[in-house]
Amino acid sequence: MTDDKFFERLREDARPLQYDGDDFLAARIAARVRERVTARPPTVAQLLAAWMRPVAASLAALVLSVTIGLTWSQQHQEPTPEPGISSNPIEVAMAGELYGVDD
């Protein structure tokens, strides 16, 4: 057999060596490529939102802690003494003289 004839025959016989993969090969690669090529760069609004999100979360935490602190301090404040009867005695004026009720 000549070299050329041998190579021709070999080319015919080698064709089944092509790799076929499984039935889902094409779909799998298409999905993976699609995922990568359709991923768009973030817009300005998305970039701002991404930057503002932690800032807003920090502010909200701060406001919450201040509110809780104020509420707590108001609830636990020392009660101011009520003006009692003894400090404001009922006085009665009689004949130019002042008389207290307890007197």
Binding site: M1, Q18, T38
Partner: protein, 199 residues
Amino acid sequence: MRGTLTGTEWERLTQDDPFEGRAIEAVRSGNAGSYDYLVSKYSKRVVSIAWGIVRNAHDAEDLAQEAFVKAFQNIGRFKEGEPFGPWIYRIVTNLALDVVKHRSRFRHEELTDVEPAARRDSAELGALSGELAQRIDAALQSLPENQRVVARLYLVEQFDHAEIASMMNLSEGTVRSHLSLARKKLKEQLADLYEGSHD
């Protein structure tokens, strides 16, 4: 897949595909969804080319994915009216050759794993059921790297000399030279299978 078409017949068929040209135009205009058509059409062939070079199914799929993404990113440079096939084949071939070069640089670290990996990769090839296919595959694998890749693209993937030269950035003369050396070695190795034939 393309069944029994040769490389040239396949390229002629793709050149006559009006959907392919439209899909390329749509992708160039920013419609990424149209790229699906091209990926679905060429993915099996692209994986087969990559597998023939790297001999590992996972690596071959990863390479195919990279090749399609690279082609998408450079679609602006793609010449209008040209078939997409040769371009994506060239990209995947170069990516796969880079992987092989990288592997050979670190070959000493992988020596202990060579035999099990080769056995596993042959098992991935469903067509290797017959003795003839196994013998041809083993003979191809025994060739030096450049001869092996060129012979595989010619014998298995059915590309012609010019197509292989374009895919591997070689001259046609170099491709013919690699094929000639490969043919000599393959004929020696497979003599018992083909010597009895007188057609």
